[in-house]
């Protein structure tokens, strides 16, 4: 789909925190000089077209007492699909990307307890026979999550 200037303005705004009020879309619509119905229809359309992949609260597993960890594996080409199936079967695997490196499978584990990271990564190692390198964050320098539309 083509995004018009209004869609882009909406997209740039709604990647930031929206008002926590009984009628957040009416409040946002007023900010953007739109009607609530037009704003909701445009957000619905962008969601249907997968331009917006999710709309709602972003949770921090670490703040809930859980943890996140970036992990990487060097998966032989011939085994890639079978290893992928085993890795993705774990509900703790939140994102997974294929990347151009000897370490070619990169995924994020999100677990409800810190022990969950070790348990899941160890289970994947056992199931696949491949080392799961673990790269927990030591310092976070800024999360500029926004994409300019």
């Amino acid at each position: 789909m083509m995004l018009d200037a209004t869609d882009r303005a909406i997209l740039n705004r709604v990647q930031d925190d929206i008002p926590l009020t009984p009628h957040p879309f009416a409040d946002l619509a007023a900010e953007l000089d739109l009607t609530e119905a037009d704003l909701l229809a445009r957000i619905e359309r962008m969601k249907a077209d997968r331009i917006i992949t999710r709309f709602g609260p972003f949770f921090d597993a670490a703040a809930m007492g859980g943890d996140f960890c970036l992990c990487a594996m060097a998966v032989p080409a011939g085994e890639f699909e079978s290893v992928l199936t085993k890795v993705n079967e774990h509900a703790e695997v939140a994102h997974n990307y294929e990347r151009t490196h000897r370490l070619n499978m990169w995924f994020v584990l999100a677990t409800e307890t810190p022990e969950g990271i070790t348990a899941t990564a160890d289970a994947i190692e056992t199931e696949t026979g491949i080392t799961v390198h673990r790269f927990p964050k030591l310092q976070e320098f800024f999360i500029g999550f926004k994409v300019a539309a």
């Binding site: 957040p24 957000i43 007492g65 990169w106 320098f141 500029g144």
Partner: protein, 162 residues
């Protein structure tokens, strides 16, 4: 670390798929949970205060917005300079995530990760060169890993307790 109670867990479970796109979304969710809308908003507000909820917002798809090149730039930065330099790299407008992470020698000598998005690989390379210029001699080696396929993207899923 904060504690969340059973009601909070029910709220998280109800909202992890997203907020209903209706005029009064919190009233809808509160109705499903059998609690008052004002209580739901208060609890979400408390979870934002404690950091359990980072924000209520949209996640945009980089690929659909034409940002099809996505490079994870990785750098081997002197440990005694990483805090200062990491802050400078994280502040660059084209860096979307920036972290210090442990090295895993000998396979992985890099301790600074900076995610760079662009419309083309050339654009990502040009941004990578800007990072290299800032790091200067504090960085002895670097690499860039392009993503070639999204293999999974679901976000956090809480398991039901018990």
């Amino acid at each position: 670390m904060s504690t969340i109670d059973d009601t909070d867990r029910q709220i998280i479970t109800a909202l992890q798929g997203g907020l209903p796109l209706v005029p009064a979304p919190y009233a809808t969710v509160a109705g499903e949970l059998g609690i008052a809308e004002a209580d739901l908003i208060d609890r979400i507000s408390a979870m934002k205060q404690s950091g359990v909820i980072r924000r209520v917002a949209a996640a945009a798809n980089h690929y659909k917005l034409g940002m099809t090149a996505n490079g994870m730039t990785v750098w081997d930065v002197a440990d005694d300079q990483i805090t200062e330099l990491g802050a400078q790299i994280g502040a660059l407008p084209f860096v979307t995530h920036c972290y210090e992470r442990p090295r895993a020698r000998p396979d992985w000598p890099y301790n600074l990760f900076a995610m760079v998005h662009g419309e083309t690989n050339d654009e990502v390379e040009e941004k990578r060169a800007q990072i290299a210029a800032i790091l200067g001699e504090a960085c002895v080696q670097s690499d860039i890993l392009y993503s070639t396929r999204i293999l999974k993207k679901t976000g956090l899923r809480l398991r039901r307790k018990g």
